[in-house]
Every structure is written in C-alpha cells, then in structure tokens.
C-alpha cells in the first residue's frame, strides 16, 4: 500500500517537474536543430542532383568529416528519372513526355537507388562530379596523417544514368561494423553547374545539404531501420511546416536603380523523409502537401499537391498542368497575386501510424531571365543590344522583349538554389530502411 502511494507521489511530483521543465524550455528557445543546414549531422540529404552532359549540366558534391576520428559513410543515389511506357530506355518527365515518347506512350515515374560506401579520414573534405564519380579516393592507398593513419577505403560511382535527376542521401556509419551510429559529423554542399562552350556561358547554383541529426544514445539495435522522429526516435524528426519565401511566377524585378529589368520563376523540389532502400519500394505512402500562400497584401490563398517519391516542379505547375500553358492562371502567378513576392507555408498531411508522418524535405531554385533583347533585324553576334533608354531588358523568350525585339543567348536564364526554412517537427515519425551487408 505504501509502495503504491509512493509510486503515485513520485509520478505526480515527476509530472510537475516535467511540466515546469517543458515550460521553461519553450520560454528560452535556443533552437530546434533536428533538421539543419547549418549544423553537422548524421544524415545529409542532397534533394536535387542533376546530370545532363548533352546540355552541359553536372553536379559537384562536397562532403566533409568535421571531426578528428575516422567516419564511415553509406550513400544512396536515388534515380528519379521517368521513362516512357513504350520505350523504357527513353528518359522523360511529365512535362515533355508527349514530345520525347513514341505516340501513345506515357511517362512512368522512376525511383531506383544505387548505394556505395567509403570512409572519410580526420577532417577530410571530399568532392566529386556526379557525372564522373570518384574511382580512386585520395587516401585509398596513401595513409592520412593520423596516428594510427587512416585510409579512405572505397570508391564513388558515377550517376547511374545520363541524363539523371534525383537525390543523394549519405548516412554516417561506424567504419568497423558498417552500422548507423549516433554521431553528427557530416556536412555537405551541392553545386549545379551549367556550361555552354559555343556561346561561352556558365551558370552556377549551390545549396547546403540538409542534415538530419542523430539522438545520442537512442540507437535501438535494429540497424536496418532508422527512426526519424516518432515515439522511438533515433534521429530528430523532419520539419512540420516549411516557410517558403519566393517570387511569384513571372514577377518582373527591376534593379540597378531601375535600369535593369527581367522576370523570375521558381522551381520547388520535394523529397520524402522516408525511404525504403532495402526493399526498393517507392516511398511507402503518397503524401498530400498543403500550401497556404500569402502575398504582400496579406491575402491568403491555398492549394495542394501529391508527392510519392520525388518531385521537382515549377511553382506554377503545382496547381496547373505541367508546362507553360496554364501558368497565368496559377495562384503562384504574379498576375493572379498582384505582388512580386509571396510566402508559402507547406505542410504534409500525416497518415495514421506512429511512423507515417509523410514528412518532406525541400529545396527552392529560382530561374532569372538573363538573355539580352536585341533588335529584330539583328542576327547573332552582329546584333547590338537593343537601345532601350536607360533600361536593360533581360529576357527568357522573345515575348519578354519590348518593341518586337528578339531574345538572344543560349543560356537565357541564371539560377539560384536556397534551402527552405521551417517551423517545428511532427510528433509522428518517418523511417529510412537501409540494407546492411
């Protein structure tokens, strides 16, 4: 009897302490670094990797071990290329399949992983072109300077297909056992370079890999299944809400003391937090992503879209058909919104289970017009820049040019990539299932 009373007293007292601690923790916010692009982490996700050598595009990956100890890394390329239903060799997407697939063909979305493993020695940075891979790591045969000396061991394959679009996910593992460990020592960046030799243009965009942090001491003994958040979390949960600041599609931005003008549009890439690399199953559940969009008048709009395994899309294609036709009618269009910028809040609709949060990771890219308007009579190199008084018109198509001018330049756009900010994490979790040799 007294034991029972003691238990209850302890329980009530503990509850009071917990409530007090929780209250003070929320009052003196430090941060919520569960998912972070500024802290080293255990899992680094590069949501967008692009290779298309025919069009001069490749991605350079940077990955670094931030500590003095040897670190094992297991990485997974996810090939998200779609292929034509009537020509499995032909790569396509939902925007271009009517032109690249044989008549009657559809574009079937793909999700194919390729994994590889290597070590990173003390504070070692590594970089590689996704198109070429890295057959020989710098310290495969040469010892590092540590005591005992550390070696890289391993190689990095090139992209499994060209063209290639997809993601890269790297997980920190114990170099001895090859099992995931509760350390946060990896950081990474991706640089997407577009080059065009004949017209001598270059375009570059860069973003930080998204880190998912491990919880110290929380590994549960099942090395195949990584619990990202949820009741048995081994890693902190994925974000609950993304706050995405963006320009509305077609916004004409004037800069340089009102002397340079050109339009901008944006691409959003979403990948699920969850993945089953062991069974090669597409993301276990299709997520619905809800959008709340605010313009500079504080007017609110909303829409939604679906995500199964990987999606990269123009903002205007979220609520209209893929392709430019319906863009002016999108709620992401500047013509619909009336202001140049907006803020969108993205939320994944959760499922019912403990590990059915259906969370996503996000990346925003912007595409700014950078072609030059020239008079219609001009041709090629002989053409002079259109004499627009006190204003340089940057263009993507001829329709962007005033006075019936034409748009010149092979790379008619310049791009940027930025990580997306977020608020909080979900109470439910996601799972990444990986093969262990």
């Amino acid at each position: 009897m007294s034991t029972k009373k003691g238990l209850w007293r302890w329980a009530v007292a503990s509850a009071a302490v917990v409530v007090t601690m929780a209250g003070s923790a929320s009052a003196r916010l430090i941060n919520d670094p569960g998912v972070s692009t500024v802290d080293p982490a255990a899992i680094v996700v590069y949501p967008k990797i692009v290779v298309d050598t025919d069009n001069g595009i490749d991605t350079v990956i940077q990955l670094t071990n931030t500590i003095d100890s040897l670190v094992g890394v297991k990485c997974f390329y996810v090939n998200a290329n779609g292929h034509c239903s009537n020509d499995p060799q032909q790569v396509c997407n939902q925007e271009n399949y009517t032109s690249v697939c044989d008549p009657g063909g559809r574009c079937i979305d793909g999700w194919q992983e390729t994994d590889f493993r290597f070590n990173l020695t003390k504070r070692q940075p590594l970089s590689w072109s996704v198109n070429l891979g890295l057959p020989e790591l710098p310290l495969n045969d040469t010892p590092g300077r540590g005591d005992p000396p550390q070696f890289n061991e391993g190689s990095i394959p090139p992209a499994p297909e060209n063209p290639f679009v997809g993601e890269l996910r790297c997980i920190q593992i114990d170099p001895a056992s090859d099992q995931p460990i509760d350390r946060n020592d990896l950081k990474g960046e991706a640089t997407i370079v577009t080059t065009e030799s004949e017209n001598s243009r270059v375009d570059v965009r860069k973003y930080n890999g998204i880190g998912i942090r491990a919880i110290a001491g929380a590994q549960d003994g099942d090395p195949n299944t990584l619990n990202i958040g949820g009741p048995d979390a081994e890693y902190y949960g994925c974000p609950n809400i993304y706050t995405l600041d963006h320009f509305f599609e077609g916004a004409r931005v004037v800069t340089h003391a009102r002397t340079v003008t050109g339009t901008v549009k944006s691409d959003l890439t979403l990948v699920p937090c969850a993945a089953d690399f062991l069974n090669q199953i597409l993301n276990p559940a299709t997520a619905t992503i809800q959008f709340l969009i605010y313009n500079e008048f504080e007017q609110r709009f909303s829409t939604s879209t679906k995500l199964t395994c990987y999606r990269t899309m123009h903002l205007a294609d979220i609520d209209t058909r893929p392709g430019p036709e319906g863009d002016p009618y999108s709620i992401f269009s500047v013509g619909t919104q009336g202001t140049l910028t907006g803020q969108s809040r993205l939320r994944a609709v959760t499922g019912s289970g403990d590990y059915d949060a259906r969370s996503v990771l996000a990346l925003l890219e912007e595409d700014w017009a950078s072609g030059r308007c020239v008079p219609q009579a001009g041709d090629g190199a002989a053409a002079t820049v259109m004499p627009v008084p006190a204003q340089t018109a940057l263009c993507r198509t001829d329709s962007d040019c005033p006075d019936s001018g034409v748009c010149r330049g092979v790379l008619r756009s310049s791009t940027t990539a930025t990580n997306v900010q977020y608020l909080g994490s979900q109470s439910q979790g996601d799972q990444i299932i990986i093969p262990i040799p």
Binding site: Q124, S127, T191, E296, T339
Partner: protein
Amino acid sequence: MGKALGKCCVWSLLSMFAAVLMTAAAAEAEVSTDLSGSIIVWPKVVFDDGRDTVIQLANTSNSLVHARCFYVNAAPAFAGPPGPFNPPRWQETDFEIWLTRQQPYHWVASQGRFVNPFDELGADGAGLDAGAIPPVPEGFTGELKCVQTDASGIPYGGNSLKGEAVIRRADGDVSKYSAVSILANSDLASDAPERELLLNNTVDNDGEFNSCPNTLLFNHFTDGVPDPVIGSLTPIECTDGDCPIRTTLTLVPCSEDFENQIPSRVTVQFAITNELEQEFSASTTVDCWMNVPLADMTAASGTCSQDSGRQCASDQDCIDAGNYGFCRKNGIFSFDVLGTTSAYTRISPVGLDGGVIGVAEEKHFNDEYESAWAAYNLQQEGSRYDATVGVIEGDKEGPVVDVIVIPEI
C-alpha cells in the same frame, strides 16, 4: 487494472522525461538560417561593381511585427581602392518597418521602397507598404541587420522574422543566400538596458539572444582550381590556371555599436584541411565587415596564368592587360598550395574576441572570362559564450558576450 494503470502512468512520465531531455540535448545550434529569429543579418549587401541586391524579409507569425533595420556601409571613405589612407566608412543608416501577419516583403537596395498606395498591381511596389525604406548609394558594400521590436522600438523576442538576399549582376547573373537568424529568449530579450542586446543565451546560460557560434565550418573549392564541370563537359582546356573557381568570404562581427558608431574588431584563425588530410593555417582581422576573396587573404599579388612574367593583383588586371588569363597567387587557400579540388576550413575567433557570422560566394569562370556567382551559407559548431567560460587572457576573463547596441529613437 490499477497496477496496469500505474505502470502506464510511470511509462508515460518516463517518456515525457525522455522527451524533455531530448529537447535539451537538441539545443546546440546558436544561430540559424533554417529558422525565424528576432535579429536577422544579411552579411553581404552590395550595389557596386555592376551588382545590386534584392532583399526579402517576411513575418512568419500571425501578429503584426515591428522591426528596426540598419544598413552598415563599409565602402571606402573616398573613391578609389581601400587602404590605410582610404578606410571604410562604417556608416550606419536605419529605418523602421511594420509587417502584417505572414506578410512577405521585398525591396531593392539601390532603389529602396517608398510608401505609395497607388502602386500598380504586379509592379515593384505593389502590396501593403511596410514603411519607407531608403535606397543605398552607388558603391555600397556592407551589411543589413533587422531587429524585431515592439511598437515603441524596444527589442522584442518574437522570433518572427526570416530573410533572403538575391545579388543580381546587370547581365542577369544571380546568386542567393538565406539571412542569418539570431533567435531570442522571449523572456529576457527586452531586459534593461533595452537597447543593449546581449548574445548570451545558451543551453547552460539563460540569456537574451542566442550566442554566436564558436566556429564557422566552411567547405570551399581551393582558390583557382579549374572548374571540374567546365573542364570535363566542354572542349575547353582548363589547364594552367584557366576556368578558375574563386571564393569570396564575407564575415561580420556579432558585436555592433550602432549608438556610438564604433566598429567591432575580431581576429579569426583559419584551420584548413585539404582532401589529403594535410593541415594549414592562417589568420586575419575582421574590422567591422570583411569581404575578401580567398586569393587575397594571404597573398597580395601573383602572376597572370598566360604570361608568368606579368604581375597582377587581381584577375581583372590580367584581363584588362589583354586577356592574359587569370591571376595566380600562391596564397594558403590556392589550388597550387593545397593541391586538391576542395578544402575544409574552420574559422574561429582567437582568445576572448567576439564571434563572427558570414556567408560565402563562389565565382566560376570559363576560359572566355565569362563567369557566374553562387552564394551559400556557412555551417557552424559550438557557442562563443560557452567556449569562453573561464578563459582568462591578461586582465580580461570569459565568457565572451557579444553585444549589439541600437540607438535611441
């Protein structure tokens, strides 16, 4: 049944305990580009050298948010190159804005944004005007800092602001980064003296605003390394210093005294590791605002890649002289010295100096001197406050508390 209920309660409580402990353990990062904050810093704002900056600022809360913003112009005092007789201006200009719930906002540094309720829909100024924002003068290079306040101008720890910056060249090339957020402890952010914002909130210390990081983690291509994509995907021969990648590092001290216009000074140490795990080091002083190409960090001059007898201080010197390639310098960050494509640099303030925050920007050239910029945020480790607890240096004793002093209204 009673036993079962009791066990259930105990397990629930233990789970709650675990959850609280996890929250405490999670609290490591000090400033962030992933979250909204109460102080937002754009370390690099330029209207110079053919580039202009578009600022984006948003209120992520459902309440009206006030903010005071401070431009710091670090351009040289007189026309011409900076030097001992042409020091930076350190000129501060401030303004106030009010953002309605969830309101996104933008302006262009060279143009500002004025209150005009008659802006056409879809035009640059369309939207609810948040207040008059002044333009910066041509030649501006510096930073922008916005502090969330209440209606009376007192700092307020609402953590409701987020921001981005797009830097656009006149030919259309763009680069973009996220502004750095310093989160506030909402209980103490308005503590007296209200105009002194103490960056001393850490896991172990109940302070006003989150402490700056102790170390910045900076992954970069080695200076002058031939771009691996341009070299492999085009017939261009990227050898002998052609197609270089140049990285420019921008650092801003966390402490700033806008009231007395006193610039802060921080000496930082660079610990560089290349892909062969070889270690190098260097140091420099951040005097209020630093924006330095890695090439210039430890080497003032070099020679042109196409004419090794021609001296140069920058790539432009070689180009202007008649396309003699690019300026090869043997600084510590150079490809010629480090020998690998990329490197990892840890940037740490020395002794009891305050913290710094920053952003990096890469410029990729092809052999025709065409180029493109890409900006990215730096990563971080530790807290400047926690790392200096108990440290004694001469007559000074840690911990270091960075302070931002804002002027009275």
